[in-house]
């Protein structure tokens, strides 16, 4: 005989204002199986919890219903209460009479009747609840960090400091990401290289970090605590264990200075064997096979060039190098793949996004994007930090900065604000003014978004001290014109505060482009079963309460792959992701909620509908064999480590052989029937 205790909460006035709690208690006490029906002002408080515990001991309750707020809020609280009182925590049900009742109804009698029905449903369900035990899964104490920009570096260093072995995978030949190419950083104007390069070196030297540059994640199998990751080490043609980084090879390469360096966004040049920048980690070269004379002619059976190899005293160069697949077991994965800039020209990867033909990017050399401008004013850049315009190397006296290029432009396909452009554009105007004292920076903006510590002061400084001319308005078109024999870029803008058009003849134009997720992030997200939005930014579990977790257990996100953000925020989020991963990896084993799908293997026809429907790849088709090894039948089987308990498989199963523990058909139908009585 079931002995169910029902505890109805007033939630101060939150519930009691619209629900007659006393009447509810009395009505519920008449339901079959209800041994006691109590109410109290704050059921989650110490006296409230004591009331529950006392009743359990006094009456020997076999099930508990707490009618209060959302289970998201307090299910854990009440599970703990009953567990301490000696009852299995899965014998607690909550009826949400706050969010789903008192908060959304004004009519007290109606709300009271609804509360009684909601609690009645919970009573019907708890009568059929079974005692459950949390699932225990082992943990591999090793983490994978994907992407070695500032986010990945921070996450890897924090994880390593926590005593966890880290595999840091980076697609480019060097760690550092976008930040390594920046000039100075807002709002303090400290040099990006000075703050990042020591971290890069640390990552390269840390005994707990295994650095894999020029590598990409190929495949991810397994589940939380027990991932199996395959990493593709791309052919580098240089054995970095032998190489000393002396530089004889890249100085001797006949293609030296002839190939656009992607690290400088095409503004500077490199050779076919190169290091992207002098402070690269590892400071070992890579051969760009597409441009190497030797490798390109090998297929034709010719042995040309090979000068780098002849120069190499360490004999580290191997022209026959091949891609290599390496497998690892890891317990947690941190994704830090970062961003790239929206491509301003007409060519777009995403068919929903259009380019800005009217700004002439790609056609006019002196119309550059903001990352190119970072290289132009960076001390490590192709001009050594001297502001020179790309077309003729002249020092620009007037620069027009156009904000919101791509961002907040529905017609071009990106509706979001890229968040950091207001700040770095203010920084650009300052750095330009500090280098060209008689220069003028004009900024066309829509709104200045400078929320952050010392951020608004920074923008005001650009305007008040460094004389940046800010015009509130967008630029409609850029035209190349010749004024007094000089090439100028005529920007047809507007000053909406003056209410008039505003035309500026600039020597150079810098477009503050929208941030978009880096190339290939969607396919990586699919490998990891992590969600993403229409632009490809990865989805966190909860925007406020679980900002670095994802819906795939054991996979964490940080940095600009999750959404546009600046360096301080990225570093904070990276440390948060590392912290969350460390919490997970520090457990001897992981406990997971037992509310997962289970297959009745006798009934299952192995049709595979659930396998296709499962968003977490938790179900597979397995063979059942007898002792002699003969195949008895095929069946689908749920991996308890991967299943998130979403119930999609239950809905699609044609033979009703899948059920969700804790939410069985029996329990759900009982709830519905209680409504029909």
């Amino acid at each position: 005989m079931a002995k169910i205790g029902v505890f109805t909460c007033w939630c101060g006035e939150n519930i009691a204002r619209n629900v007659d709690v006393q009447a509810v208690s009395e009505a519920i006490s008449k339901l079959p199986g209800v041994a006691c029906s109590e109410n109290y002002k704050y059921m989650c408080s110490e006296p409230g919890q004591t009331l529950i515990a006392d009743k359990i001991k006094e009456l020997g309750l076999t099930g508990v219903v707490v009618a209060s707020c959302s289970p998201h809020m307090h299910l854990k609280t009440f599970r703990k209460t009953v567990e301490l009182a000696g009852v299995n925590p899965y014998l607690v049900e909550m009826a949400n009479i706050r969010e789903q009742c008192s908060w959304v109804h004004n009519d007290k009698p109606v709300a009271t009747a609804k509360a009684i029905e909601l609690i009645g449903m919970a009573v019907a369900k708890v009568r059929r609840n079974a005692a459950l035990e949390p699932i225990k899964v082992p943990v591999t104490k090793r983490a994978l960090v994907i992407g070695a920009g500032v986010a990945g570096i921070q996450a890897a260093l924090d994880l390593a400091a926590g005593g966890v072995e880290v595999i840091l995978v980076e697609r480019e030949p060097s760690v550092g990401g976008k930040m390594a190419g920046l000039s100075e950083t807002f709002p303090t104007l400290d040099c990006s290289q000075c703050i990042l390069t020591p971290r890069m070196v640390e990552v390269g030297q840390h005994p707990n970090i295994k650095l894999m540059t020029y590598s990409e994640v190929e495949k991810v199998d397994g589940y939380v605590g027990n991932f199996k990751v395959t990493v593709r080490k791309k052919a580098r043609y240089v054995d970095i264990t032998k190489c000393t980084g002396c530089g004889s090879c890249w100085n001797a390469c006949p293609k030296k200075g002839k190939i656009p360096n992607s690290f400088d966004y095409g503004l500077g040049n490199r050779g076919a064997i190169y290091i992207p920048f002098p402070q690269a980690v590892p400071a070992r070269p890579t051969i760009d096979a597409d441009n190497c004379i030797r490798i390109q002619n090998m297929a034709k059976g010719k042995e040309l060039c090979g000068i780098c190899s002849k120069q190499c005293a360490a004999q580290a160069i191997n022209f026959h190098d091949q891609d290599e697949l390496v497998e690892f077991d890891v317990g947690a994965i941190v994704v830090a793949t970062g961003y790239k800039l929206y491509s301003i020209g007409k060519e777009q990867e995403n068919p929903n996004i259009k380019g800005y033909g009217e700004y002439g990017y790609g056609k006019y050399k002196d119309v550059v994007d903001s990352l190119q401008f970072e290289r132009i004013i960076s001390a490590s850049g192709p001009t050594g930090g001297e502001p020179k315009r790309p077309s003729d190397g002249a020092t620009p006296k007037t620069i027009v900065f156009i904000q919101c290029t791509g961002s907040r432009d529905n017609a071009k396909g990106i509706t979001y604000c890229s968040k950091i452009c207001c700040m770095y554009t203010a920084k650009h105007t300052m750095l330009f003014k500090h280098k060209v004292h008689d220069g003028t920076a004009h900024v066309f903006y829509m709104d200045i978004r400078s929320g952050g510590k010392m951020y608004d002061e920074f923008v005001r400084r650009a305007i008040e001290q460094d004389g940046a001319q800010y015009h509130r308005g967008r630029v409609s078109k850029i035209e190349k014109v010749t004024v007094d024999g000089q090439t100028k870029y005529r920007c047809y803008g507007a000053d909406t505060l003056a209410g008039t058009p505003c035309v500026v003849d600039a020597d150079m134009v810098v477009l503050a482009c929208a941030m978009v997720p880096s190339t290939g992030v969607k396919s990586l997200a699919q490998k990891l079963s992590v969600g993403y939005n229409e632009y490809g930014f990865l989805s966190e579990s909860h925007p406020k309460l679980r900002p670095v977790e994802t819906n795939a257990a054991g996979v964490f996100v940080c940095g600009a792959c999750q959404g546009p953000k600046d360096i301080p925020e990225t570093v904070a989020q990276a440390s948060a992701a590392a912290g969350k991963a460390l919490i997970m990896l520090s457990q001897p084993f992981l406990t997971r909620e037992p509310e997962i799908a289970t297959v009745d293997e006798k009934l299952c026809a192995a049709c595979g509908a659930c396998v296709k429907a499962c968003p977490y790849k938790a179900i597979s088709i397995e063979e059942i064999r007898d002792r002699k090894g003969n195949l008895v039948k095929m069946t689908s089987r749920v991996n308890p480590g991967l299943c998130m308990g979403c119930g999609t498989c239950v809905a699609v199963c044609p033979s009703k052989s899948v059920d969700l523990i804790g939410f069985t058909d029996d329990q759900v139908y009982a709830q519905i029937e209680s409504l029909l009585d």
Binding site: A411, Y492, G493, A494, P501
Partner: protein, 187 residues
């Protein structure tokens, strides 16, 4: 919530666009070839319309300066039909007889153009110019204007901007009449 008889609703219906979409970025004014000499440049016109100041906006001179080049609508990041709003305001101005006095000449020119097209099915430039100038003269009795435009005519013909040749009228005049009847143009 829009109140009943909100003048904005009429503009939105005529222009087939949503006024609240505009976020006042100024790109329409920036690209407008007439923006510099407008009393109410496109961005301000949009703002006036957003605030429901339709009467004031329809009295503006600038809606008659607009060349209908559609650069504003084409480049609008929010895909607002700015030139459609201009057209809507023009229609409201004519309906409510609130055309800016400065723009009377522009309307006179447009009416002369339409009369000419209604008569011939296409424009006859010399005929149209004469029609326009004669009517304008009888309104203002401005002799200098007649002299000045009279001197401009030969120059334009010499540069090929205006043509003496009187083209043949279109054959299907009934069709032209049907178009004008359908548009209910009063000239």
């Amino acid at each position: 919530m829009e109140k009943p008889n909100d003048p904005r609703a009429r503009v939105e219906e005529l222009a087939q666009t949503k006024l609240s979409d505009c976020y006042q970025c100024g790109k329409c004014t920036a690209g407008c070839p007439r923006g510099a000499d407008m009393d109410l440049p496109p961005t301000r016109m949009m703002r006036a319309a957003q605030l429901g100041q339709i009467e004031e906006a329809s009295k503006a001179d600038s809606i008659w300066r607009c060349l209908s080049c559609l650069t504003c609508s084409a480049r609008c990041p929010k895909s607002v039909n700015v030139s459609g709003v201009v057209d809507a305001l023009r229609q409201i101005a004519v309906e409510t007889n609130s055309v800016s006095p400065k723009s009377a000449k522009i309307i006179g020119f447009q009416k002369a153009f339409l009369r000419n097209v209604r008569r011939n099915g296409r424009t006859n430039e010399v005929e149209m110019a004469s029609d326009f100038e004669i009517r304008y003269f009888f309104r203002r009795f401005d002799v200098m204007n007649v002299v000045n435009t009279g001197l401009l005519g030969p120059k334009m013909i010499a540069r090929g901007k205006m043509h003496f040749a009187i083209g043949s009228p279109v054959k299907d005049k009934a069709l032209v009449k049907r178009i004008f009847d359908k548009c209910k143009v009063e000239l």
